[in-house]
Symmetry: C2
Subunit: 229 residues, 2 copies
């Protein structure tokens, strides 16, 4: 018999599709922080009843990108400077751990996947597709978490990365500038292929710090405005 691995077929519930739609809308910044999600309006737009929509919202609330107040409504989370700082400082710690766990497990498949994802970032950059650029960069970064073979760690990172994606998207939207064309991931990929784990860990920290500064500037600008809905 032929040795063939089938991947699980897609979830075919309305709920799952709604989750995907809302998540994407939130993470790309189409839904603004603090914005209220009107159940009736959204359910009519999606041609769906409120039941699966509400269940989808509960999921996203637990995922940390929506927040819910009983009898008041469900809102996109607000973004503060402190949130960004917190997320990044935790990300540093997790990165160091993920690299440590992944390091001895690196093999040819890992390197190939690393190159593939790196290529995806470069392609999105050339196409000036900022949304996709953020997505692919985070996916490149996430490989060490997938390879670390620790399901709790992976889960944790996925929650964290949701927020990071949202922060980056908001940042991009706010500054409205073209994306840097240079390849900031070249060194990272090279180090992950090398033999000096400490160097890779250190670079991950510094690399993060780089973008972090830009994000922080954006966060501080948010602090100055009064919150709106």
């Amino acid at each position: 018999m032929a040795k063939l691995d089938f991947s699980p077929i897609a979830d075919t519930t309305r709920r799952a599709e709604i989750v995907a739609l809302l998540r994407r809308a939130t993470l790309t910044g189409q839904l603004e922080p603090g914005q209220k999600l009107n159940e009736l309006r959204i359910s009519e737009q999606m041609r769906v009843s409120r039941a699966p929509l509400r269940e989808a919202m509960r999921e996203l609330v637990q995922e940390g990108i929506l927040t819910s107040i009983p009898y008041a409504g469900t809102f996109v989370i607000e973004v503060t400077a402190k949130d960004i700082i917190d997320a990044y400082s935790l990300n540093k710690v997790l990165d160091e751990f993920a690299i440590e766990q992944t390091w001895p497990q690196r093999d040819q498949r890992f390197f190939n996947e690393l190159d593939r994802r790196h290529e995806a970032v470069k392609q999105a950059t050339r196409a000036m597709d900022t949304t996709r650029q953020i997505e692919t960069a985070l996916q490149l970064h996430g490989l060490i978490y997938e390879w670390a073979d620790n399901s709790v760690l992976l889960e944790t990172w996925q929650r964290l990365t949701s927020r990071l994606q949202m922060y980056f998207a908001l940042h991009q939207r706010a500054r409205n500038e073209p994306v840097p064309a240079e390849d900031v991931h070249e060194t990272y990929v090279a180090l992950m292929k090398g033999s000096d784990m400490g160097a890779a860990q250190r670079h991950a920290r510094e690399h993060i710090d780089l973008d972090f500064e830009e994000l922080l500037a954006y966060a501080r600008s948010l602090e100055k405005r009064t919150s709106k809905n």
Copy 2:
């Protein structure tokens, strides 16, 4: 005018109460790993319709203690030896970070709270209330996360601690032995009050390793059995 801080009033939705009930049932081991949650049966027992029950279940699925398969059902997560290893190795990393963040923020209120929680553990131990003993021990442990002033970190730990609580509860249930009467937290509390941060971090690691060994033995025994529902 008197200076009085009011805390937010409790959520009064059925959903929130259902979540609390189901979470407790799962974490104390009343619901066994792999067990299916029949919506109709549970909703009738709770005298509630399926809508808020299903929403509650979605939350717990995202919380990581239930798992859902479309059109098949929602189940309590299975516990494998690897899950326990993964959770603990991540916990070590987070502990080290939490202590680092908390360290400079320690004040009298922190020490008082530390003592209060330590006392709660001792009381539960004296009362031979194993469930409460697990709860209070984790709460004692969680103080450094509350004090670290990093909301993402706290959230992460709360998700992780849910699982740890479940693992410990299952372990206790399985061995069916009286709890050790000795106070294993004395040293930890003393170190958290001291001035050597490195020592506190090291102890946190080793202290965890201690209970870890017991848990692992339990996990391995699980591996040998075939899964049931």
